[in-house]
């Protein structure tokens, strides 16, 4: 009680110094709180924009998959086929901390130009559309056309892919019957709707040389609600068409008797003739050709082949969840390995971690500087009070008493000014989303936590702010405490 009374009165007596140190603490706490809010908002945004829109928390790939980066590999490096999916999914789904899982196909495809012109490139996701929409209910906004119905073949093109295809191929795509030119890339809107194509010929892109080409109708166009510039490179197609394009055939699909016409086609080495109008007429015909050409040895019984399985967790972090799944696969001898989402998206995940690290680094640096200034001010204060402290020591105050007195003064300042800073920072975090600060830039969207700048403070973040504030104050007080406690009565007498 004596210490707190002394501390409070000392702060009041040295009001100028208290305001200086308090002001630093206030600013530090304010920026720390807001910074933590931005980091938390970013984490939530990444969760929403990446995990809840595209990857899930954990991505399961084949154990033969060498690169962790299975989504955004340069030049579309092939993602290994994932076998025994029933067993893998069964094992994964049986875990209480797994919320849901979704197998998908993912690889590179080439969009062939049907007349003279350059081909385009697409990342292709093969999905069961119903299940994909259930897994990512808010991820994709259809702006024209629709998702293919179950059993229906079709391609859904995001606006990013459409734009890129126009730039590389000079062709643009819309579903049949959709005439809204606003859905076309901006550069293509001046073109006649007659030039818009409603089908696309895709050819798989893999090292196995077992791929085939397939004419597909454009079922829908739209946009990913988050990070569309990035995810917009990924077109969606039904899984059967995907497997056809990639040449993923089951054992029972390999042995196919070719008709004489088909044998003639096989005998032809004129690719242009195959690609000309009528050369690739429909998916069924092409499937037959594909089966016949080079059936990839992907057959493992009747289990269909996929590339990845996305896993959503509940109450478990991505890194730990991936490690637990890896352990599960080893135990069950399953040919799979698990990747946390940030590893699976390569540079995007690294960038996200980098931005998060930079923000945390900024906040940390801020507090190091604040800590140094506070330590210096308190040390000066201790030296100025040599007579007073030395006198207290002379009448019987221990070094520990003096140290506690200094700590009490700093604690009071931290609680008062730092507390106000934290509260004001929390108010700022709460108000900021209502200001409607927007960005269309994907990188900034990561920082903003979405299209609108939306910092976020959870109760645990507030606790963390107070903890960090306390830590900085404690560290900044160490040297002044030690300095004050080392003042002797003789130092005070010498000053007289």
């Amino acid at each position: 009680m004596l210490i707190w009374r002394l501390a409070w009165r000392n702060l009041w007596r040295h009001r100028g110094r208290s305001v200086v140190v308090g002001g630093i603490l206030f600013m530090g706490a304010l920026l720390l709180t807001f910074g933590n809010g931005v980091v938390s908002g970013m984490e939530r945004g990444l969760q929403r924009q990446v995990v809840e829109s595209f990857t899930g928390d954990v991505v399961v790939a084949s154990n033969k998959q060498v690169d962790d980066n299975v989504f955004i590999s340069m030049m579309g490096k092939e993602v290994e086929p994932l076998y025994r999916i029933s067993e893998i999914q069964g094992a994964v789904d049986s875990q209480a901390w797994v919320e849901a899982s979704l197998p998908i196909g993912k690889n590179m495809t080439i969009a062939l130009h049907e007349s003279e012109g350059n081909p385009g490139y697409l990342f292709l996701l093969g999905v069961d559309f119903k299940k994909w929409q259930k897994f990512f209910p808010q991820a994709f906004q259809i702006q024209g056309g629709k998702f293919p119905e179950p059993g229906e073949a079709g391609l859904v093109l995001p606006s990013g892919a459409n734009k890129e295809l126009f730039q590389t191929m000079g062709q643009t795509f819309l579903p049949e019957g959709v005439t809204d030119t606003l859905l076309l890339p901006q550069e293509a809107r001046r073109l006649s709707l007659k030039t818009v194509r409603h089908e696309m010929v895709l050819m798989g892109f893999s090292n196995s040389m077992s791929t085939s080409d397939l004419r597909m109708k454009i079922s829908g166009v739209g946009r990913f609600r988050a990070l569309n510039t990035i995810w917009g490179h990924f077109a969606l197609t039904d899984i059967e068409s995907y497997r056809t394009v990639q040449g993923y055939l089951r054992q029972d699909e390999k042995a196919v008797q070719l008709s004489s016409d088909q044998q003639n086609v096989m005998a032809s080495d004129n690719l242009d003739a195959l690609l000309a109008d009528g050369g690739v007429s429909n998916s069924a015909a092409t499937t037959s050709v594909a089966k016949a050409i080079v059936p990839t040895d992907t057959g493992k019984g009747s289990d269909p082949v996929w590339n990845l399985m996305l896993v959503r967790l509940k109450g478990e972090g991505a890194d730990r969840g991936a490690a637990r799944l890896d352990s599960l696969f080893k135990t069950h001898h399953l040919p799979a390995r698990a990747l946390p989402w940030h590893k699976a998206v390569g540079v995007i995940g690294s960038l996200a971690m980098l931005i998060r690290g930079a923000l945390l680094g900024f906040v940390g640096l801020l507090f190091v500087v604040a800590g140094i200034v506070i330590a210096n001010t308190l040390a000066m204060s201790a030296m100025e009070r040599t007579t007073e402290i030395g006198m207290m020591r002379a009448v019987g105050a221990t070094r520990w008493f003096i140290a506690k007195l200094m700590m009490a003064e700093t604690t009071m300042l931290a609680l008062l000014f730092g507390g106000i800073g934290v509260l004001l920072g929390a108010v700022l975090v709460a108000v900021t989303p209502h200001l409607g600060i927007q960005t269309g830039n994907d990188l900034l969207q990561m920082v903003y936590g979405g299209e609108v700048f939306h910092p976020l403070l959870r109760p645990q973040d507030l606790v963390m702010c107070f903890f960090e504030l306390g830590l900085v104050v404690a560290l900044a007080s160490l040297y002044p405490m030690q300095l004050a406690a080392s003042i002797t009565p003789l130092d005070a007498i010498a000053r007289e």
Partner: protein, 225 residues
């Protein structure tokens, strides 16, 4: 019985490349209940002597006993404890805690001891303030008191723990003669009434008449007792 026994006490200070011999072999005994004045010119070593007896400075060589404790071998913690329980200080510039009232300043050493209840601490401190004639100023801060009043508060604070020994380094140096004499009379009264040993240093011959005994010190040596 001696409250202080000093044998062959020396104190040297390094000063650049030279050594200052502040005390050059002091031997003295101070009986309990003394009212002793240490007299000498500036730089004679009287403050150093008081500091060592008061356990705020250490001897270079020799022995110093306060009560029955040899203080030259004590740790900082033990010296602090000794100062808190056995020794009272009155400084030249009335060093009170500026943010505490007169009463709270007197309470301060008792609160550090932490042995009495808050009520007892307050009661005892008020008695001391009454004894030094400042009970009606108990709520005043040091800045609101005159120099003489502050020194009276310092005396009350020095006495509140019932110490065996009170050390006062030139307690009247910054007071006018009238106030200074009133302070010395107060010390004289306290010595007589409580039997507390007072040792005060001065270079003012006017104040010597208040001392029961006088020790002269010059160039770090005692000249007579």
């Amino acid at each position: 019985m001696n409250i202080v026994e000093i044998r062959n006490l020396t104190k040297n200070y390094p000063l650049g490349n030279t050594t200052v011999h502040a005390l050059r072999g002091i031997d003295m005994d101070i009986p309990q209940g003394s009212l002793m004045s240490v007299v000498g010119p500036s730089g004679s070593g009287k403050t150093t002597l008081l500091n060592i007896v008061g356990c705020v400075d250490t001897a270079t060589t020799g022995s110093v006993k306060v009560g029955d404790r040899e203080v030259t071998t004590l740790s900082d913690r033990e010296l602090t404890r000794l100062r808190l329980r056995k020794i009272g200080f009155i400084f030249q510039t009335f060093n009170l805690v500026p943010v505490l009232s007169a009463l709270e300043n007197v309470e301060f050493p008792l609160l550090l001891q932490g042995e009495l209840s808050a009520a007892k601490v307050r009661e005892k401190s008020r008695q001391l303030l009454l004894a030094v004639g400042l009970l009606d100023h108990e709520r005043h801060k040091p800045a609101e008191l005159s120099g003489g009043q502050r020194q009276r508060v310092a005396i009350a604070r020095a006495l509140v723990t019932d110490p065996d020994l009170v050390l006062a380094d030139e307690p009247t140096a910054n007071l006018d003669s009238e106030t200074g004499e009133s302070i010395l009379r107060l010390m004289q009264t306290m010595n007589a009434e409580r039997g507390t040993t007072f040792i005060f240093s001065t270079h003012d011959p006017q104040v010597l008449r208040y001392a029961k005994s006088v020790v002269h010190i010059h160039d770090g040596r005692l000249e007579g007792a």
